[in-house]
Symmetry: C2
Subunit: 267 residues, 2 copies
Amino acid sequence: MNYLLGFLLFLSLFSISSAHEKFDSHLLPRPLILEYTETLETQLKQLDEDQQLRCTSWRFAVEANNLSPWKTIPSECVDYVKDYMMRKGYSVDLEMVYKEAGTYARSIELVGDGKDVWVFDVDETLLSNLPYYADHGYGLEVFDSHEFDKWVEKAIAPAIESSLKLYEEVQGLGFKVFLLTGRSERQRSVTVENLKNAGFQNWDKLVLRALEDHGKTATIYKSEKRSEMVNEGYRILGNSGDQWSDLLGSTVSKRSFKLPNPMYYIP
Amino acid sequence: MNYLLGFLLFLSLFSISSAHEKFDSHLLPRPLILEYTETLETQLKQLDEDQQLRCTSWRFAVEANNLSPWKTIPSECVDYVKDYMMRKGYSVDLEMVYKEAGTYARSIELVGDGKDVWVFDVDETLLSNLPYYADHGYGLEVFDSHEFDKWVEKAIAPAIESSLKLYEEVQGLGFKVFLLTGRSERQRSVTVENLKNAGFQNWDKLVLRALEDHGKTATIYKSEKRSEMVNEGYRILGNSGDQWSDLLGSTVSKRSFKLPNPMYYIP
């Protein structure tokens, strides 16, 4: 958008200067310049608004699970996604999901036999990789697993604060907390380290992808793992995840909570 | 919001006049007034932005299926929802869903045995009840089935244009088109009349709630009907609906498309 703006401003200089030349003899340059500037501003505002609408529409399509698998965000929406993630939009949305999930968690009566479970995904659910994505175009760059793994190894991803609140709240209510992540079993120790550094404590299970799970879609892998939990007698009452593949498939939770994530898609 | 604005402007008159009185002797009334006005404007803009963010967040929560059943839209979001429905937001979102659904429909190879099906919901999917809701607070009023039935009897709900395009496109591709609506069997003839008036033709099934379906949630009723279709040998490849209860449950479609609807919720 910045480029487009620049280009249009550049063009506008031409319109103004040529208009200027043409009407020079009439000695009316000032009102003319003002007029052109206003029209241009209106046009730019319109362009901005339309792009804003298209990017909002795209984000809705992501959150409503309407899109086919996508590899990168639309290039016209880079500034939009950056603005959403870095200013208030993302945190307001996270807070809204937290409130709904918390209200639900408090509303259900647990059996209390240690089999009531809340499942959490890890990346973009408990931990935020926003510092990584801020350095990689907020989803505009194609995912580079090698680069991302280097970031994971650092174990410095901060907590998503609203999720930490929910995590502690459901633990306090008596839920078992199971973490179900697409990360590899090889990353167990850095994941544990990172979770602890970020303030997460006393989870009851941390399930990572074993060798045989590689190559499975997240939907299949996570459905299988939830199914194993249920076969062990657990009741999955809540499930928080930023991807639809955390929430859909088989053996779905009684209620699921979709956290916002306009930066990437995992099938 | 208008009331709030009025109230704040009202308050601001007080602040200005009392500030005026206080500093009267200093002979600095003008800059003081300007200063207060600017601060007020900034504050009002901020309030507006925050409310906009909260209502956008609420709409996302609706579309991502994060909310418990709700009866009316939040009162602070009336202007927001009206603006969304009546200006560009809604139509841009509809167009986006249409594009995704169309691309998907064209991408799949049909068996061609007359068993490939696309399921459409009716209200807020094929037909728009926006004229009714515009007269009833865009979802702020609690749903009044008696009033709504009077509107349905008129059979004048316009087509949602993007859905009519998709409808005709999937028919052209060779899909059977099944309409699955929560409307009552008693409303069959007005529904047929309205659909035809709005330009919909040659559907292959129109399923309405029979006597025994009343009292079932839409999720249960529609799942049962989809299950009957599959038991008859049909393959449900696409499903378009504005409610999650059109799309979730059992025997779900290969792909589902959630049309936007921030005005009401059907469980």
